[in-house]
C-alpha cells in the first residue's frame, strides 16, 4: 500500500523554512539590517524623538504579531486587543503603586490576568460557534466594558484622569531607566521574542491546527481537531503577550489612562500593522509597523490638520481591502520559496 519514498523527494518536502529558506543575499541583508537596528540607538546624539519612534515601531510590531497568532493564523478577528494592553498596563501599575510590587512581576500577573480574561471571553464564544463578524463584535463589546470599568473605578484606577507613575530614576528592578536606549533594546527584545514565538507556532502542530480551523472548521473537526480548545489556546497566547506589551508601554510613558491603553483606536491601529504587512505571516506586522509608525508620527508632527495620521490609517485600510487584501508579504505567497521565508 505504501509507495517507497525516494531520498530526493523526501528532501524536497523538508526544505528549510523561515529566513533559512531565503537566498544568501537576503539573509546577509537581514543580518545587516538587524545589526543596524541594534546599533541605531547606541549614539547618544540620536534625538529623543527618533528613539521614541524606534521604540514604538517595535512595540506596534510586537502587538500586531501577537494579534497575528490568533487572527492571522486562527481567523479569530479580534478588534478588542486594547483590552489586553490595558490589562497588562493597569495590573502592573496598580500593583506597583498600591503594593510596591515590581512591574516585572506585575507584568507576569498582568499576563496571567489577560489570559484568564481571554479564556472567559473566548470559551463561550468558541463553544457556541461565534466566528467572523460576530466574534469581532464580542471583542469590541468586551473592550468597551473593560474601558468603562476602568474609567468608572476612578478611586482605584484614576478614571479618565489617569495614573502617573512616580519617576524614580535608574531602577532596573522597578522597570525604570534614565537612558532611553534601554527601553529601545527592551522593545527590540520583546519584538524578537514575539516574532520567534509566532514563527514557532506557525510551524508547530498548534499552528497547523489554527490555520486549518481558519480555513474550514468543520473539515478540521473531521481531522480530530477540537476547534474550541485550539482557538482558546491561540487567543490566550495572544492576550498574554499583548498584556506584557501593555506593561512595557506603561513603564515607557510612566502614565496610564483609558484613552492611551484601552481605546478602540489602539486595537484598530495594531490590526492595521498586521493587515498592511500581511496578517498570515509572522513578519507581516513588522513590515507594517516599519511603514506605518514613522508615517503616522510624521503626519502627526508635520501637518496642520488635526487627525491627519488617523485619516491616513483609514485610507490605507480601505485601499488595502480593495487592492491588496493579503498585504505586502501576501504578494510573495505564490512563490513556494518566499512563501517558506515569510511563513505564509
Amino acid at each position: 500500500m505504501r509507495a517507497t519514498r525516494s531520498t530526493e523527494q523526501g528532501e524536497s518536502a523538508r526544505l528549510p523554512s523561515g529566513i533559512g529558506a531565503a537566498p544568501l543575499s537576503f539573509r546577509v541583508a537581514s543580518v545587516v539590517i538587524l545589526l543596524g537596528l541594534v546599533i541605531f540607538a547606541i549614539p547618544d546624539s540620536i534625538p529623543f524623538y527618533y528613539k521614541q519612534v524606534g521604540i514604538l515601531i517595535f512595540w506596534f510590531a510586537s502587538l500586531g504579531t501577537a494579534w497575528t497568532i490568533s487572527c492571522g493564523y486562527g481567523g479569530m478577528f479580534s478588534i478588542g486587543n486594547a483590552a489586553f494592553v490595558g490589562t497588562g498596563a493597569y495590573t502592573s501599575t496598580l500593583l506597583f503603586l498600591h503594593f510596591q510590587i515590581s512591574p516585572w512581576l506585575g507584568m507576569v500577573v498582568g499576563m496571567a490576568l489577560a489570559a484568564l480574561l481571554a479564556a472567559g471571553v473566548g470559551y463561550p464564544a468558541f463553544r457556541f460557534g461565534l466566528r467572523g463578524d460576530y466574534f469581532a463584535l464580542i471583542t469590541i463589546a468586551f473592550s468597551g466594558i473593560v474601558y468603562e470599568l476602568v474609567n468608572g473605578a476612578s478611586g482605584i484606577t484614576g478614571g479618565g484622569q489617569g495614573k502617573p507613575i512616580r519617576v524614580l530614576g535608574d531602577r532596573p528592578w522597578l522597570f525604570q531607566f534614565t537612558d532611553r536606549r534601554i527601553y529601545y533594546y527592551i522593545a527590540m527584545a520583546m519584538w524578537l521574542l514575539t516574532v520567534v514565538v509566532a514563527y514557532r507556532i506557525r510551524h508547530s502542530r498548534l499552528g497547523y491546527k489554527l490555520l486549518a480551523i481558519r480555513d474550514d472548521e468543520p473539515a478540521a473537526a473531521r481531522a480530530g481537531i477540537n476547534g474550541t480548545t485550539v482557538k482558546l489556546v491561540g487567543f490566550v497566547i495572544t492576550a498574554a503577550i499583548t498584556a506584557a506589551l501593555g506593561t512595557f508601554y506603561a513603564q515607557l510613558i510612566l502614565f496610564i489612562d483609558p484613552g492611551s491603553v484601552l481605546a478602540l483606536d489602539l486595537s484598530v491601529t495594531l490590526i492595521l500593522m498586521a493587515v498592511l504587512g500581511g496578517m498570515a505571516s509572522y513578519l507581516g506586522a513588522t513590515v507594517g509597523a516599519f511603514i506605518l509608525v514613522p508615517l503616522s508620527q510624521w503626519l502627526a508632527a508635520n501637518t496642520a490638520v488635526a487627525g491627519a495620521d488617523l485619516f491616513a490609517n483609514g485610507l490605507i485600510l480601505v485601499l488595502l481591502m480593495l487592492y491588496m487584501p493579503h498585504g505586502i508579504l501576501g504578494l510573495l505567497r505564490n512563490s513556494p520559496r518566499w512563501r517558506r521565508v515569510v511563513g505564509w
Binding site: M1, D216, A220, P336, W344
Partner: protein, 235 residues
C-alpha cells in the same frame, strides 16, 4: 461478521420535509458497503448524522457497539470514524504537505513527516508538497483529501463520492488502495454513483430512496432489483 456500524430507525426532517425515515442497516466490520440513491435521497444527510455534523430527530447510531449520537465530529474522528465530503474540503491556506501533517496522529514530528511523504507519494503529489493547496486542481484536491483521511488511520471510513473528478488511472489506484484497506481490516461505507466501481469494490450495497432503505444485499443482485432500477436507474 460483527457490525462495526449499526443504524437504527434514523429519522430526520428539514422543517416539514422528511429527509430520512426509519433508516436502518448494518455495516459489517472489515467490509466495503456501498450506498446509492437518486439525488436528494438523503445519502449525505445520513453521512452528516453518522459523523456528528447533524443531529437526527430520532433513532440511534452504534459505532463499535457504542451509541455515538450526541458526540461531536472531532470526538468521532478521534474514535476512528472519519469521513470525506461530497465537495472536497482541503485546507487551502496550508501547503499540500501541511494538509497532511495537520491530520497526523503519529507521536513524533519525524514519524509524521515520514508518513506524510509516503501518502504524498501514494497520491502522486510529492512534487507539489510546498504548494498552497488552493493552487491544486479539483482532482488533485480530491486526492489530497483521500490522503488526509488515510493519515488519520481510521478504523472506519465514510467516503462521499470518492471517484468524482478523478481520472480513470488514478481511480483504479484508489480502488486498489480501498481494497487494501479492507484487507487490512478497515471498514468502509461509500456513496458512489459509478455502478462499475460499486460492483468491483463492494461486499454489500444499500439503496436509499426518499429517505428510506429500499434494498440491500450483494451488489450484483441489488442492481437487478426492479424497485431499485425504477428508483435509481429509471428503468
Amino acid at each position: 461478521m460483527t457490525a462495526m456500524l449499526s443504524i437504527r430507525g434514523i429519522d430526520k426532517r428539514f422543517g416539514a420535509l422528511p429527509v430520512l425515515t426509519d433508516a436502518t442497516f448494518d455495516v459489517a466490520e472489515g467490509s466495503i458497503t456501498g450506498l446509492i440513491g437518486p439525488n436528494g435521497s438523503g445519502k449525505t444527510t445520513l453521512f452528516d448524522i453518522i459523523t456528528g455534523y447533524r443531529a437526527p430527530d430520532g433513532g440511534s447510531v452504534l459505532f463499535a457497539g457504542s451509541e455515538i449520537i450526541g458526540l461531536k465530529p472531532y470526538q468521532l474522528a478521534r474514535r476512528g470514524l472519519i469521513r470525506t465530503f461530497q465537495l472536497t474540503r482541503v485546507f487551502k491556506g496550508l501547503t499540500v504537505l501541511e494538509n497532511l501533517l495537520v491530520c497526523d496522529v503519529s507521536p513524533t514530528a519525524e514519524e509524521a513527516s515520514d508518513r506524510a511523504l509516503e501518502m504524498l507519494d501514494f497520491v502522486r503529489l510529492t512534487a507539489l508538497a510546498d504548494r498552497e493547496a488552493a493552487a491544486l486542481s479539483y482532482g488533485q484536491q480530491k486526492l489530497l483529501e483521500i490522503a488526509q483521511v488515510l493519515m488519520l488511520d481510521p478504523s472506519m471510513l465514510l467516503l462521499d463520492e470518492p471517484m468524482a473528478g478523478i481520472n480513470p488511472g488514478l481511480a483504479d489506484q484508489i480502488i486498489e488502495h480501498l481494497q487494501a484497506l479492507r484487507a487490512g481490516g478497515k471498514t468502509l461505507l461509500l456513496i458512489e454513483h459509478n455502478l462499475s466501481v460499486i460492483t468491483t469494490l463492494c461486499d454489500k450495497l444499500l439503496v436509499l430512496n426518499a429517505g428510506s432503505i429500499i434494498a440491500e444485499g450483494r451488489p450484483e443482485e441489488v442492481i437487478k432489483d426492479r424497485n431499485v432500477r425504477e428508483a435509481f436507474l429509471g428503468s
